[in-house]
């Protein structure tokens, strides 16, 4: 009888250990980048290190205007909070709503991170030449600044001191929209850091499988392509 009792107690203890470990592991696996608000702290709590670049969901700007002729193409609106500045014009301001939402969301996040900073948004769709891949509503060229002085995503330093750390951060922000097909930019450490972020299963939104490729001429801006299926009709407007 004592033997049976011992076996029973072992089973109970084993079960308890298993049960507790299931709960503990489950909590850890789902709470890496989650912050629980207690009461009403006012403002968003800080995310743990490594989660700073994550973006939860895309924001679509209000009142998107569709192009009168090119169906499916919408104009990126002027920024209402200086989170981005448009340095192109005319028909080159048009892209897919998904692309515009990605730009808009990252710009908002960037502004939140750097109140003095903003993105410079160049051509969405554009003429060929010089562009060869800005014609399906999914691509955009851009650079950024954190303070109006430095240059992000521009290693040439022709227009200001290069900020490599912020460039990595910008790449991760785009990746964390979970919509990125590829970013073309020619600074190897930036490429490595962003691809490692995108390939790390710990990051919930990371554009898994995204690419960063060596493309000549892409040392002074990011070229960003989003995943877009189906592509919009081919259109290479002049601006």
């Amino acid at each position: 009888m004592q033997k049976v009792l011992n076996i029973y107690i072992y089973i109970l203890l084993g079960g308890a250990v298993f049960f507790i470990s299931q709960i503990a592991l489950g909590q850890t696996a789902t709470s890496n980048c989650v912050v629980t608000k207690v009461g009403n702290p006012g403002g968003e709590p800080q995310l743990p290190p490594g989660c700073q670049s994550n973006i939860d969901g895309l924001i679509t700007p209000p009142n998107l205007q569709e192009h009168p002729v090119m169906k499916g193409y919408f104009r990126i609106p002027d920024s209402e909070d200086d989170s981005y500045r448009l340095i192109t014009s005319g028909d080159c301001l048009y892209g897919s709503p998904e692309l515009i939402s990605v730009i808009y969301t990252v710009a908002k996040k960037w502004k939140e991170q750097y109140p003095q900073g903003y993105l410079f948004v160049n051509d969405l769709n554009g003429p060929d030449p010089p562009h060869k891949s800005h014609k399906w509503g999914r691509g955009v060229d851009l650079v950024a600044t954190t303070n109006g002085v430095d240059r992000v995503a521009d290693i040439t330093e022709n227009f200001g001191p290069y900020n490599r750390i912020a460039t990595v951060e910008l790449g991760k922000m785009f990746a964390s929209t979970d919509k990125i097909l590829n970013i073309w930019y020619n600074d190897a450490p930036v490429r490595k850091a962003v691809l490692e972020f995108a390939n790390d299963p710990k990051n919930p939104n990371r554009s898994a499988g995204m690419n960063m490729e060596w493309i000549r001429g892409h040392d002074n801006h990011f070229h960003v392509d989003i995943k877009l299926e189906p592509l919009l009709s081919t259109w290479a407007p002049s601006c």
């Binding site: 009888m1 049976v4 009792l5 076996i7 029973y8 089973i11 109970l12 079960g15 298993f18 049960f19 299931q22 709960i23 489950g26 909590q27 789902t30 160049n122 554009g126 030449p129 010089p130 562009h131 060869k132 891949s133 060229d141 290693i155 040439t156 330093e157 022709n158 227009f159 290069y162 490599r164 097909l181 590829n182 073309w184 020619n186 600074d187 190897a188 450490p189 490429r191 490595k192 691809l195 490692e196 390939n199 299963p201 919930p204 990371r206 898994a208 499988g209 995204m210 690419n211 960063m212 490729e213 060596w214 493309i215 000549r216 001429g217 892409h218 040392d219 801006h221 070229h223 392509d225």
Partner: protein
């Protein structure tokens, strides 16, 4: 207690462990949080991260510079080449070693040499951790000396010159994907006359 255990021994020996078994099975099969995102498949383990295909053709990725190469700041010289291309040199952060662009026209770059800015160092592992080891390494460099090596990834359109001891990368070369022979013939002027691949 002893009587109780004896009376219900079958339940204690078989029933309770069975209940635990059912409970554990449910815990494993049912997600703890129903609102959890679907699991994202982990990348295939590899010594290097293989970039996905972008869905672009080689012609598509020959993306021209958005500004004319002639309008790029820091232009030092422009030279017509025998193959009808033009060679442009630009000021870099290293004395006597300008950036170079060879272009078919002012928007179509066929080769770009980017000299590393010493303020923003680049390491060999910044490439090899992603792309794996290069298939081709040429010892010696006309400009950087006998200790430097040229690492060539012709299938990626990438090469760089670096010091294998310090891991420091001096410059990178970007070009159309090609063969190593073609790279050496067209853009390998820094590789000594009798290279040792």
């Amino acid at each position: 207690m002893k009587i109780l255990l004896l009376r219900y021994r079958l339940f204690f020996i078989i029933g309770i462990p069975f209940l635990f078994f059912v409970l554990f099975t449910l815990l494993i099969l049912l997600p703890l949080n129903n609102t959890q995102s679907p699991p994202v498949p982990a990348p295939t383990p590899s010594t290097s991260i293989t970039p996905n295909t972008t869905g672009f053709s080689q012609e598509d990725v020959r993306e021209g510079n958005e500004e004319s190469v002639e309008e790029r700041p820091g232009l030092l010289s422009k030279e017509a080449l025998p193959d009808n291309n033009f060679k442009y040199t630009y000021r870099s952060h290293v004395e006597n070693r300008p950036h170079i662009i060879i272009a078919e026209d002012e928007y179509t770059i066929v080769f770009q040499r980017m000299v590393t800015n010493p303020r923003f160092p680049v390491k060999i592992t910044d490439y090899t951790d992603i792309d794996g080891p290069p298939k081709w390494i040429f010892k010696g460099s006309v400009f950087y000396g006998p200790d430097a090596q040229t690492y060539v990834y012709p299938e990626l359109g990438l090469a760089f010159i670096a010091d294998p001891r310090s891991e420091e990368v001096f410059e990178q070369h970007l070009f159309d994907r090609t063969t190593v022979e073609d790279y050496v013939r067209r853009f390998g002027e820094d590789i000594p006359a009798n290279p040792e691949p």
